[in-house]
């Protein structure tokens, strides 16, 4: 699969003008000089808490996948006393997602502006950047340029996220920043109440912080000019087309999915929301809901789906969806932290069951076993890994039911056996890779 991660629709905006789409991604990576020419300096408010009502009015939700209202986390940390911490989360541990990586490369100063503004709004005196790639040249350069220009009020510490699916989960992130392994812990207390070293900790996805940096400049009304009224704004998506191309595209929330994803005969199924996401059958979608199926959680919920961190894939019709799903679930099972009994026991069994269904012939009870195990792990983990995995598995069983029948008779509809959905190199990873 080729990965271009370019932004096709970028256009250079006039200096200091509120941007239309794309809002976040410049045509080419921007250093601090370009950033200042386009946006001006970091718009500090001069007082903690000042930005939060604008963020509330904007309706901004977290872009890391959970879509939690941003102002609420800001307000909880702002209200707390004593030492406080803010973290820019660019772990992007979802292997198919490339948007945070691209954003950090193309517009690092927007993210860093957002981090400083979040620190000011919450009264935090400690800031971290947590990324899959650690201190890249672009980030180090941006931080050095900002230091030379005395832009930042709080120093930023960079920590590399281990290459694990759960590394970006909030409590796992806090544990890693604290020097331990990136393993989730049982909540409550939430990290906003007791996080890094016990301090109330605000963790926001890097894209969320970039949106904060723009809302602080152009205001909530500008932010709400695109998107739906319930889910305003734009979001970055990582889009895989049947021809194997991968693109990061900034799109308005609520955009029809068919404007983003191929829906022709070359497409077998859609995967919406990544590996904790949902398979949707395209032919059915074409007949019934192609117009109605839009990229917003209000709509996607009706189809059992969610936008997640914006990973969208159109599986080509020459591939077997069941085989693809079994590969991904094998990965997800291996990525269980192994801390909670139901996940530790259930996910490998679910993965083995799916692998059996994806093979030639299977035992009569296997499908029912997978469904029962799915029910047994759901809602019983310290983090959402079992629940997300179950959503992916159940939708695969539903959408690829005809394929299961074919495989039971020793057949498969695929004409191309090459894996389509990306999994990390070196998977499965070893036990020691949590730090």
């Amino acid at each position: 699969m080729t990965t271009t991660t370019v932004n096709e629709t970028a256009s250079a905006g006039a200096a200091r003008q509120a941007p239309v789409l794309p809002r976040l991604l410049p045509a080419a990576p921007e250093d601090l000089r370009h950033h200042l020419a386009r946006y001006g300096p970091t718009p500090y408010r001069g007082q903690a808490g000042q930005l939060i009502s604008d963020i509330e009015t904007s309706g901004l939700t977290g872009r890391g996948g959970a879509a939690f209202p941003v102002y609420r986390k800001l307000a909880i940390v702002a209200r707390a006393r004593g030492r406080k911490v803010v973290v820019a989360n660019g772990a992007e541990s979802e292997p198919a997602s490339r948007k945070d990586e691209l954003l950090l490369r193309a517009a690092p100063n927007l993210v860093l502006d957002g981090l400083q503004l979040a620190a000011e709004a919450t009264g935090a005196t400690e800031a971290h950047l947590y990324t899959h790639y650690g201190p890249t040249p672009e980030i180090l350069r941006a931080l050095a340029e900002r230091a030379a220009a005395s832009l930042d009020m709080v120093d930023v510490t960079i920590t590399r996220a281990p290459p694990r699916f759960l590394a970006g989960q909030e409590s796992a992130l806090v544990n890693r920043l604290g020097g331990g392994p990136a393993l989730p812990t049982f909540q409550p207390p939430r990290v906003t109440e007791r996080g890094l070293g016990g301090a109330p900790t605000l963790v926001q996805n890097v894209e969320t912080l970039a949106h904060i940096a723009l809302i602080a400049r152009y205001g909530p009304r500008w932010f709400r000019a695109v998107g739906t009224s319930a889910e305003p704004g734009s979001m970055l998506t990582t889009v895989y087309q049947p021809d194997g191309r991968c693109r990061v595209v900034e799109t308005e929330i609520g955009a029809p999915l068919r404007t983003l994803l191929s829906s022709g005969p070359e497409t077998r199924a859609w995967l919406v929301g990544g590996y904790h996401g949902t398979w949707l059958p395209v032919p059915q979608a074409a007949a019934l809901t192609l117009e109605a199926l839009t990229l917003d959680n209000g709509t996607l919920k009706k189809y059992g789906a969610a936008a997640g961190a914006g990973v969208l894939a159109a599986l080509p019709s020459d591939r077997c969806g069941l085989t693809e799903a079994a590969r991904v679930v094998g990965y997800l099972a291996a990525e269980s932290a192994g801390q909670c009994g139901p996940c530790l026991n259930g996910l490998p069994r679910i993965a083995a069951g799916l692998a059996e269904l994806a093979g030639p012939g299977h035992r009569r009870q296997t499908r029912a076993d997978v469904e029962r195990w799915a029910g047994l792990v759901e809602g019983r983990g310290a983090c959402n890994h079992p629940d997300g995995t179950v959503r992916f598995v159940r939708s695969a069983l539903l959408v690829f039911a005809p394929e299961i029948s074919l495989h039971a008779r020793g057949q498969c509809s695929a004409t191309n056996r090459r894996p389509f959905l990306p999994l990390p190199d070196g998977f499965p990873t070893s036990e020691e890779d949590w730090t």
Binding site: P342, N345, G346, L376
Partner: protein, 69 residues
């Protein structure tokens, strides 16, 4: 006696599947096929309050909690 509004919660990381809770409180706790507890999500009824507290105290992993909604 005031109506209790506490519910049983398992910390799934601490829980090691001893199964003591299901033995002491079968009305509210059953075990899955791997020996891990499935607890009734509804508030603990007053007549089971004492048994629930006993099960919480008896958990060898200190993984069973009574939490206020």
């Amino acid at each position: 006696m005031p109506l209790t509004l506490e519910t049983l919660k398992v910390n799934p990381i601490d829980c090691t599947g001893h199964g003591v809770c299901a033995e002491l409180l079968p009305e509210l706790v059953s075990l899955d096929e791997w020996g891990y507890p499935i607890v009734d999500p509804r508030p603990v009824p007053p007549q089971l309050d004492r048994e629930a507290r006993r099960a919480v105290a008896a958990c060898p992993a200190l993984a069973l909690k009574l939490m206020r909604k």
